[in-house]
């Protein structure tokens, strides 16, 4: 750690991991509710548990992004953070607001929460992923502005690297697009049209810029490859991302009342959306193969490569599977969508946050570069457990989705939704088992922060390093 103010990232990362654990617990509850329908009913109905699951995901990823920014921006800009105090303050504001919101979901019926927070003044609640009370949304905007100010001032008055600029563009885009969360017309079609400006243009647009810049930073640090090379790859990748991803929004405009030409525009451009992810995979492996040094933090490199591969599989391949409009006609809003959502979010965004945590946390906890061997080995186990179980979750959901699509949508004698759900329950059970394995991986992951923390730092094997 070269600058003291980078240490604020530790708060953010710790909170991110804690919320991640919460997200997984609620994921398991949801998975069980899929097969044991009355589980926790009526105390925690499915919609409440799902809100908690998805909102925790978004919040912990945002914590991760902010932590990543606070860690890497000073190092790239070669100066201390503009205001570490503001960063700490905003951390607590965000955490408390987030916690209150989650508690609100769990303790008050949703309609009561809507009434309590005055949703009728400016109705924004009750739309998927944007369930937060309007007041929370305003809080998010304030935190985002303060964060952007802090990061922006640091970047603009320091060394301007491509990593920093791309990160800043991504974060600014994130904040600006979130403003569409406040637009909620009575017209359902327009509501949906602009809802996607938040959701799609986040995850298939500006978030990929953030992902790219964090990945580039970690690769610069761990491989020692010339910054110039990595930066130009970064530009090419994010150019392809926006070139394909912006019009790619059209793949959400097939069946929601929007004109039918979107079936063409959306299919053509979203069919190309895997390209930037593929380039990212090639890029990550290429850079690691050309590495100039063997970084002691092996597990961070593993996370970085894992991110590239899983993002390509989850977002690229599983996205492509159902993005063409003739296919999507049958798969839209089925378990196929759920399968894609799980692997894409884990592969692209959960993993990039875990990558930067894995890289940065040892140094913030007093190591020179990396954790002890024992800790790293444990973290690698957690990597494989979580990643492989996520692959299985995705495969099981895909299986469920294919059957669902056939029985409910494609066959000559389509069956009702609930009948089909019972027929595919086996897949949901297997998904739940894979989810438990994922939780085990997460437990190991958290344990890796405590195991071997007294052991000496990992050293270069076989190389001519003096033994301590």
């Amino acid at each position: 750690m070269q600058y003291q103010s980078q240490a604020v990232a530790k708060l953010y990362f710790t909170a991110a991991i804690g919320l991640f654990a919460g997200q997984i617990l609620f994921g398991l509850i949801l998975g069980l509710q899929y097969v044991v329908g009355d589980f926790l009913f009526p105390e925690i109905p499915f919609n409440v548990a799902r809100m908690v699951h998805t909102n925790l995901l978004i919040v912990w990823i945002l914590f991760g992004f902010m932590g990543a920014a606070y860690y890497l921006v000073p190092e790239e800009a070669e100066r201390e953070l503009h205001s570490p105090g503001l960063a700490v303050l905003m951390f607590w504001v965000f955490l408390v607001a987030g916690a209150l919101t989650i508690l609100g979901y769990l303790l008050v019926p949703y309609s009561g929460l809507a009434k309590m927070t005055g949703n009728d003044l400016l109705p924004t609640m009750g739309r998927e992923f944007l369930e937060q009370p309007t007041i929370t949304k305003i809080g998010i905007v304030i935190v985002a502005l303060a964060f952007l100010y802090n990061i922006g001032m640091t970047i603009l008055s320091g060394r301007k690297t491509v990593v920093n600029l791309v990160l800043l563009i991504g974060l600014a885009g994130l904040a600006v697009l979130f403003l569409f969360a406040f637009y909620n017309p009575d017209n359902l079609v327009e509501d949906k049209l602009y809802w996607w400006w938040v959701v799609h243009l986040w995850v298939e647009g500006v978030w990929e810029l953030i992902l790219g810049s964090i990945l580039a930073f970690v690769l610069i640090k761990t491989t020692g490859v010339d910054r110039e090379v990595i930066e130009k790859w970064l530009y090419v990748i994010i150019a392809m991302t926006l070139i394909t991803g912006i019009i790619g929004t059209g793949h959400h405009y097939y069946w929601i009342g929007t004109p039918e030409y979107w079936q063409w525009w959306g299919s053509v451009f979203s069919a190309l959306e895997p390209i930037p992810f593929f380039m990212m995979t090639v890029f990550a492996f290429n850079m690691v193969n050309r590495r100039r040094r063997n970084h002691l933090n092996k597990v961070a490199v593993l996370w970085a490569l894992g991110t590239a591969v899983m993002a390509f599989l989850g977002a690229g391949v599983w996205g492509f599977l159902h993005t063409l409009s003739p296919v999507n006609y049958y798969t839209h809003g089925s378990q196929i969508t759920a399968a894609h959502g799980h692997m894409a979010f884990y592969g692209a965004y959960a993993m990039i946050v875990l990558t930067i945590i894995s890289y940065a946390m040892p140094m913030m906890r007093g190591r020179k570069a990396a954790n002890s061997n024992r800790s790293q080995v444990l973290e690698m186990w957690s990597f494989w457990l979580m990643t492989v179980s996520m692959v299985f979750i995705t495969l099981f959901l895909t299986g469920a989705g294919i059957l669902q699509v056939y029985l409910q949508r494609y066959s000559d004698t389509p069956l009702p939704f609930m009948v089909v759900q019972e027929k595919i329950a086996l897949f949901y059970w297997m998904r739940e088992v894979a989810g438990v394995v994922f939780l085990a991986g997460l437990v190991l992951y958290i344990a890796s922060f405590f195991v071997g923390s007294k052991d000496p730092e990992a050293a270069v094997e076989q190389a001519a390093s003096p033994t301590a």
Partner: protein, 194 residues
């Protein structure tokens, strides 16, 4: 014609910056998919496509094709000029290309005005959806290409390029030729073939 040593050696990479070429490939991929989509959708609506294709102004399209090819020719000549270090000539030819591109926009714009005046939109029917999508997507490429050529012309005039250093011009030229190339397929496909 002797193949003297002065002929340019073959090189591994096309003229200009490779990043532009990667971009060109991506763009060509999009156009290829759109062309194929047009052709295969037409299979299902042959009569409809033929009927509405007849409403297009083929003379305007001819004029536009000639304008774009001529612009491309000026661009080629501009690259030749800058390779020989003839800056003023390169600049003039780039402006000439911009002018031809401008003519294209003007004529195409008049065609659009005509269609819009008749109340034709993307959602009117399958043929107009493809006609407007394809040509407008290309139209925007022409605008971008013109902007690129204008910047290049101004920078040439300001003395940024020389016989030794002119990769930007080659990059911009390659992009412009791509725009031309796409139109050379688009013109017969949408205006003539039935």
């Amino acid at each position: 014609m002797t193949r003297g040593g002065s002929l340019p050696e073959t090189s591994r990479y096309p003229p200009g910056d490779l990043a532009v070429w990667i971009f060109i490939l991506a763009e060509l991929a999009v156009f290829a998919i759109f062309f194929a989509a047009y052709a295969f959708t037409r299979m299902q609506h042959v009569a409809l496509f033929d009927q509405y294709q007849a409403t297009l102004d083929r003379n305007a399209a001819l004029f536009n094709t000639l304008a774009l090819v001529t612009a491309s020719y000026f661009v080629v000549r501009a690259v030749t000029a800058i390779r020989e270090g003839r800056t003023a000539s390169a600049r003039n030819r780039l402006w000439a290309a911009v002018g031809m591109g401008g003519l294209f926009l003007l004529v195409k714009g008049m065609e659009y005005a005509h269609h819009l005046g008749e109340g034709i939109r993307l959602s009117t029917n399958a043929f107009y959806m493809f006609y407007l999508s394809l040509t407008f997507f290309h139209f925007m490429h022409v605008i971008l290409g013109i902007l690129v050529l204008m910047v290049l012309a101004m920078r040439t005039a300001a003395g940024h390029y020389s016989a030794q250093s002119h990769t930007d011009i080659e990059s911009g030229a390659s992009y412009w030729h791509m725009v031309d190339l796409v139109w050379l397929i688009l013109f017969p496909l949408v205006y003539v073939m039935h």
